[in-house]
Amino acid sequence: MKVLTANRLVDGEAVWFSAAHRWSETIEGSEIAADKAAEEHLEAIARAATDNNEVVDAALIDVQVVDGGIRPLRLREQIRAAGPTNRVDHGKQARPPVSQAA
C-alpha cells in the first residue's frame, strides 16, 4: 500500500494527498493506493502538483494500516508524519488530535 506525500512549495510543510483529493497537513485520511493502477493515478497527481508548483519532492511511500490509522513503513516517513522525536512539541505530533486539513 502506498500514499502520496510531498512538501508544500511556499512553506515546506510536509503534506499528504488525501482521499478528499486535496493536500492535507496530516497523514490521516490519505488516499491509499492498493494496486498498480491506483499508484499510477497518484503518480499522475504528483506530476501535476509538481508542474503547477503546489508541492516539491513528491513521492509515493509505503504504508500499512494499523488500528485504522495509516502508518508509514520507514522510520524516516514515520518521523515526517509525526515530527522530530527530540521535540515532541514540534511538528504534526504537537497539534490537537483532530485532523487539520490544509
Binding site: N7, L9, V10, D11, G12, E13, A14, T50, N52, N53, V56, D57, L73, R74, L75, R76, I79, R80, G83, P84, T85, N86, R87, H90, G91
Partner: protein, 556 residues
C-alpha cells in the same frame, strides 16, 4: 571584529534583492524547482523532512551581541523560537517558510550577516579556532586570514562551480582546536625562524564516506602568498578533481589518487606563475584587516585571582564550572568561557531565542561584546575578566547554560540526523540525549575525564564521528536503525580516523555499549591522568572488543 565596508553592504544588499526576486518568481511558478534548487542552495536554503532549513554563515564563528540578538529575533519571528548551532560554526533554522526567507536575509543583512555560500560546490564558511584572539598559546589571531579568504572566495568566478564543496580552516596555535586536518585546506599560522608570519599548509583532509587526514604540502608559506597559493591549490583541484562521481569529487580523493608529492609539484608549478602577480597580499592591507580583529582594550583586573579563590570555596557548581568551562587567556587577568549548549538530555547545539538574548546581554556586560561559536556546537565568551567569572556563571545558570561539561563525555557533537535531515539514515540527537542522561553525574564525567564523543546519522559525517575518541555512526539496516561504534579518532594536532570496533548496535543497545567502552577504559587505564584516547593508543581495540563482544571477539 570585522565591519562591513560600503562594498560589503552593497554586495549583500544586492544579493538579498536578487534572491527575493528569485523566490518571488519561484512562488509565481515562473521558474521550476529544478531551476530554483541550485539558486536556493547558493543562499543556504535546503528542503529537509518537515520544512525548509536555512543555514546562516557565522564567519570564523565570530559574533557580537547585536548579531546574536538578531539571530534570536529571527528564531522567534520566523521559526519556532530556537536555532541550532552547527559543527561548521554556523546556525541553522529548522522551520522557516520559503516565502519568509527574503525577509530573514534582509534582517540578517542589517547586522552584517548572510547565508551566502553556506551550501553548494563552492568555498564554504572559513572556520577558525574559537579561542582566536584570546588563547594563551596562539602565535597570532588567525581570523584576519580567514576574513581575507572570505573576501577572496565570495562569489569567486573561477571557484563557484567546483567539483564539490570546499572547506578551509585556520588555527593560530600549535594545539589545533579548529580540526584543520579534517578540512580540504588546513592552515596553521606560525612564525618562521626570522619571526615572520606564515602558514603550514595541509590539503586533502575530510570526513564523509572516505575519511582522510590532510597531508602537509608546505611547511611555511609566507603570509603575503596566502591567496596566490590557495588559488594554485583550487586551480589544480578545479582542473583535475573528479566531476563524474559525486562520492569521489572532494580534493581528498584527488590527493589520494594523485599522491601528495605529485599534487604538491602541480600546486607549486601553478603557484610559480601566480606568486608575484596581483594576488600578493599588500602588507598594509593585511594589517588593515588585522586591525579589525585587535583584541579589546582589557583593563587590568588583578582582583580576579582573589575573587575566584573565594567564590570557589563558596560554590561547588562555580568551582566545577571553573575547572571545566574556563580556559586560560593570554592576559592573566582574563579568561575565555565556554558556554555549553549540551545541557544534560538536551539537543546538542540548540539554543532558544531567550537564551541567545541572555547570552548577548552577558557578552555585552562582561565580554566586550564578543562571542564565538565553536565547531563543537558551543558558544564562547573569549574575553571575560576573572573577577567577573562568578557573575557570568550565575547569569548563565539562570538560563540553564552553566552545564560544567566542556570536553567531557556529555559534551557531545551530534548532527541533526533523521529527526530533521533528508540525507540521514538514523537518528543522532536521541542517541546523544540518552548517553547524556546515562552519564549525567558530573562526578562520574570528571572521573572519566576528557572524552570526545561524536555522532553522525549517516556516512556524510556531519557529526564528525570518524574523529571522535568514541564515534557513533547511525545506519539503516533492514528498515531499522543500527549504530556502528568507532574508537580512537581525534581531530586535533594528532588527527586520526577512528576504527570500527565490530558489529553495530540497535537503538536500545547503543547506550549500554558506550557505557561498556567507558567502563573498560576506566578499568584498563594506567591512572586518571591517562585520557581515553591515550589508553586507546596504548592498548588498541582489543580490550574494548573483548568487553563488547566477548567470545565472539575471540573467535574473530
Amino acid at each position: 571584529m570585522y565591519r562591513y565596508d560600503e562594498f560589503d553592504h552593497e554586495f549583500v544588499k544586492a544579493r538579498v534583492a536578487e534572491f527575493a526576486d528569485q523566490v518571488e518568481r519561484r512562488l509565481a511558478g515562473e521558474i521550476t524547482e529544478d531551476q530554483f534548487k541550485p539558486l536556493r542552495l547558493m543562499n543556504g536554503v535546503y528542503l529537509q523532512l518537515h520544512a525548509y532549513m536555512l543555514r546562516v554563515a557565522i564567519p570564523y564563528g565570530t559574533l557580537n551581541s547585536r548579531q546574536l540578538r538578531m539571530l534570536a529575533h529571527i528564531a522567534r519571528k520566523y521559526d519556532k523560537g530556537y536555532g541550532h548551532f552547527t559543527t561548521r560554526q554556523n546556525i541553522q533554522y529548522n522551520w522557516p517558510a520559503l516565502a519568509d526567507v527574503p525577509a530573514i536575509l534582509a534582517d540578517l543583512a542589517s547586522v552584517e550577516m548572510h547565508s551566502i555560500q553556506t551550501s553548494g560546490n563552492c568555498i564554504r564558511n572559513v572556520t577558525a579556532d574559537h579561542f582566536s584572539g584570546a588563547a594563551a598559546d596562539e602565535v597570532a589571531d588567525p581570523r584576519p586570514y580567514a576574513e581575507i579568504l572570505r573576501q577572496w572566495s565570495s562569489v569567486h568566478p573561477e571557484f563557484s562551480y567546483l567539483p564539490r564543496k570546499f572547506k578551509i580552516a585556520v588555527t593560530g596555535a600549535e594545539r589545533d582546536r579548529a580540526a584543520i586536518k579534517t578540512h580540504d585546506i588546513g592552515l596553521h599560522l606560525k612564525r618562521n625562524e626570522a619571526g615572520e608570519l606564515g602558514f603550514a599548509v595541509y590539503v586533502g583532509g575530510g570526513q564523509g564516506r572516505t575519511p582522510m587526514v590532510a597531508k602537509k604540502i608546505r611547511d611555511f608559506l609566507p603570509e603575503a602568498d596566502l591567496l596566490s597559493y590557495a588559488t594554485a591549490i583550487l586551480r589544480v583541484y578545479n582542473l583535475h578533481g573528479r566531476r563524474d562521481n559525486k562520492f569521489k569529487a572532494r580534493i581528498k580523493i584527488l590527493v589520494h589518487e594523485t599522491g601528495a608529492e605529485e599534487l604538491t609539484r602541480q600546486v607549486e608549478a601553478e603557484w610559480k606563475s601566480l606568486r608575484d602577480g596581483e594576488l600578493k597580499l599588500p602588507e598594509a592591507d593585511v594589517r588593515a584587516i588585522a586591525a579589525y580583529f585587535a583584541p579589546p582594550l582589557l583593563p587590568a583586573r588583578p582582583e580576579g585571582d582573589e575573587q575566584v579563590k573565594l567564590a570557589r570555596l563558596d560554590s561547588r557548581s562555580f568551582s566545577e564550572w571553573l575547572d571545566q568551562n574556563v580556559t586560560t587567556h593570554k592576559n592573566p587577568d582574563y579568561a575565555a568561557v565556554t558556554i555549553s549548549l549540551k545541557g544534560i538530555g538536551e539537543t546538542p547545539g540548540d539554543a532558544s531565542a531567550e537564551q541567545m538574548e541572555a547570552v548577548a546581554d552577558i557578552a555585552e556586560k562582561y565580554g566586550f561584546d564578543e562571542l564565538r561559536v565553536s565547531h563543537e556546537q558551543n558558544l564562547v565568551l573569549p574575553h571575560v575578566a576573572r573577577a567577573d567569572l562568578k557573575a557570568v556563571h550565575d547569569a548563565l545558570a539562570e538560563i540553564g547554560l552553566a552545564t560544567a561539561n566542556s570536553g567531557l563525555i556529555t559534551d557531545i557533537i551530534a548532527c541533526p540526523g533523521l529527526d530533521y535531515c533528508a540525507l540521514a539514515n538514523a537518528r543522532s540527537i536521541p542517541v546523544a540525549q540518552e548517553i547524556s542522561q546515562r552519564f549525567a553525574s558530573l562526578e562520574r564525567q570528571r572521573d572519566i575525564g576528557e572524552l570526545k564523543l561524536k555522532i553522525s546519522g549517516c556516512i556524510n559525517a556531519c557529526g564528525h564521528h570518524h574523529v571522535g575518541h568514541i564515534g557513533i555512526l547511525g545506519v539503516e539496516k533492514k528498515g531499522t536503525e543500527l549504530y556502528q561504534v568507532t574508537l580512537g579518532g581525534s581531530a586535533d594536532e594528532n588527527t586520526t580516523i577512528g576504527e570500527i570496533v565490530g558489529r553495530g548496535f540497535g537503538p536500545e543497545e547503543i547506550t549500554d555499549a558506550i557505557e561498556t567502552v567507558v567502563e573498560t577504559y576506566l578499568r584498563v587505564r594506567r591512572d586518571s591522568s591517562e585520557r581515553f584516547i591515550d589508553t586507546y593508543r596504548r592498548l588498541g581495540a582489543a580490550p574494548f572488543k573483548e568487553a563488547l563482544y566477548g567470545s565472539e571477539a575471540k573467535a574473530a
